[in-house]
């Protein structure tokens, strides 16, 4: 039925009204649990509120932000988080690619292998941190035991306690936990590439390496970049892993750990909120950077 006078039919209008009716409850809930608390946090950043008496506070303008900018622990946390994010995402993407290419080759037992790979992802981060914390224990950990027996090291290493090693240990646990997940995402992207592409390339005489870099990689780039984006943003927000593995230790504290420590342990709501706001800005900037550099497009969404 053609619309009258270029407007909408009654049917379409009714659908549109219903659409809003179904949308509103979700939007209201989201605004209440996400929008409002975020605005409140930014608001608190400009006050000197404390946790034990949230009702009584004064505006202190940009004072909190100035304190943060001069706090070496904060910048250490920024460095820790950026290091963690860049190193772990790079390793996970490269290793994930290798594993995905392995799985894409026709081998038997692909099903059980994929199942085994979902295990690290399914385990709660807290549990992974505890399991690895136990394996990396300097006195009773199995890793030190094996390395000592193999003669790779001469005395037990303090993987988690030593400030020089701790951040690498955190990266290692995250790599263990997330690489299989990245591999599965990349595998899904790889499986969208039709076999005919590979056959045509082989006829043209391209080597396997050439096939990979000239044909496969460009084809899976969109999906790959989305996976990298989500992974990177997750990494910048990291909290559980560092808190459970190394506590509030400044040598590994991420920005989230720092912010929460200010908020809950030191009861300084104003300062902690300012740190949180700072973190949001950094995450937003990183997201914009990755989207632009990775030429990620959201055309398909919502169309």
């Amino acid at each position: 039925m053609a619309p009258r006078r270029g407007g909408l039919t009654g049917m379409q209008r009714r659908r549109r009204r219903a659409a809003w009716l179904f949308l509103v409850p979700m939007l209201v809930t989201l605004a209440a649990v996400a929008g409002w608390p975020l605005l409140r946090t930014v608001y608190f950043a400009f006050t000197d509120a404390t946790l034990f008496d949230l009702d009584y506070y004064q505006f202190i303008g940009l004072l909190n932000f100035r304190f943060i900018a001069t706090d070496p622990d904060w910048w250490r946390a920024v460095w820790n988080t950026l290091f963690f994010a860049i190193v772990s995402v790079t390793i996970e993407t490269v290793l994930g690619l290798v594993i995905a290419l392995t799985l894409n080759a026709r081998i038997r037992g692909r099903g059980p292998l994929r199942a085994a790979m979902l295990i690290p992802w399914a385990i709660p981060t807290v549990v992974s941190a505890q399991m690895w914390g136990w394996m990396l224990h300097d006195q009773y950990g199995v890793i030190n035991e094996v390395l000592l027996r193999l003669g790779v090291i001469s005395t037990p290493w303090a993987w988690v306690a030593d400030p020089a090693l701790a951040l690498w240990s955190v990266v290692a646990v995250d790599v263990w936990k997330t690489t299989p997940f990245m591999a599965l995402l990349i595998l899904a992207a790889l499986q969208l590439v039709p076999r005919s592409v590979y056959e045509a390339a082989k006829i043209d005489g391209l080597s396997p390496v050439g096939i990979f870099f000239r044909m496969t990689l460009p084809l899976i780039r969109p999906g790959l970049m989305v996976a990298v984006l989500f992974r990177a943003l997750d990494a910048l927000r990291v909290f559980d892993l560092m808190y459970v593995l190394t506590g509030n230790s400044p040598s590994t504290a991420s920005m989230s750990v720092y912010a929460r420590q200010q908020l809950v342990d030191f009861q300084d709501v104003g300062f902690g909120s300012a740190a949180s706001t700072f973190l949001v800005l950094i995450v937003a900037a990183a997201a914009a950077l990755i989207i632009i550099a990775g030429r990620i497009r959201f055309d398909t969404a919502g169309s």
Binding site: V33, A122, V126, M131, W176, V280
Partner: protein, 272 residues
Amino acid sequence: MIGRIALYLLVGVIVVYTVFPFYWAVVSSLKSGQALFGTELLPRDPQWSNYTDLFTQQPFGRNILNSVFVAGSVVAVSLVLASGAAYSLGRVEFRGRRPLLMAILGVSMFPQVAVLSGMFELITWLGLYNNLLGLTLSYLIFTLPFTVWVLTTFMRELPKELEEAAMVDGATPFVTITRVFLPLMGPALVTTGLLAFIAAWNEFLFALTFTLTNEMRTVPVAIALISGSSAFELPWGRIMAASVIVTVPLIVLVLLFQRRIVSGLTAGAVKG
């Protein structure tokens, strides 16, 4: 030939790498006392004392129930709200739909700590501090965007003819959703619900910050905070036992639904 062998070797390494920590946790949980500090691959004298201690020395059973309640309730609420929203966002053209989808995606990128002070204020104002419902409320911040996003992707793919046929029969949009679309989306709802359940089950920051007493804690917090009789000695055997208890059902769920899970995750990230 060598290529094949190398390939299978690589596969073997991958499997050992992914499974060994869990295996070691199981083995460690069955050792007690001095045996814990040795490194045999198989416990010489398996003991269940770590497991029994978990339930007698601390309210771990209660912690498990807490997690089930919180994760279950937040998934139920999310699916209800998200189904309706997915219909609107996936099938109806209206102005501002794309920015709205982007905004919802944006919410899922919030650092959780960024809403901590505001959320704390909200929860105490509602009187829900140290209350499981406070956790349910706060978890919506990540389950809602996720379920909306994935369900919208699935809703979009349902054929238009179904909707047109229903409308010709005189069905209102509400009836169309509940009687026509939702039954078809059964698998999608299960997958999305499962993924959201796992995310809620594993959540740590809010659970740590918004609960106070042992009885109100969820499983991840309980596992992180297991402490021993002295300040310097962590009961690693018990920690491993708790880890195993929590992980086994998750692994079983994941193995049963692995195909669905992978398709659900990739629907959100890779395809759309």
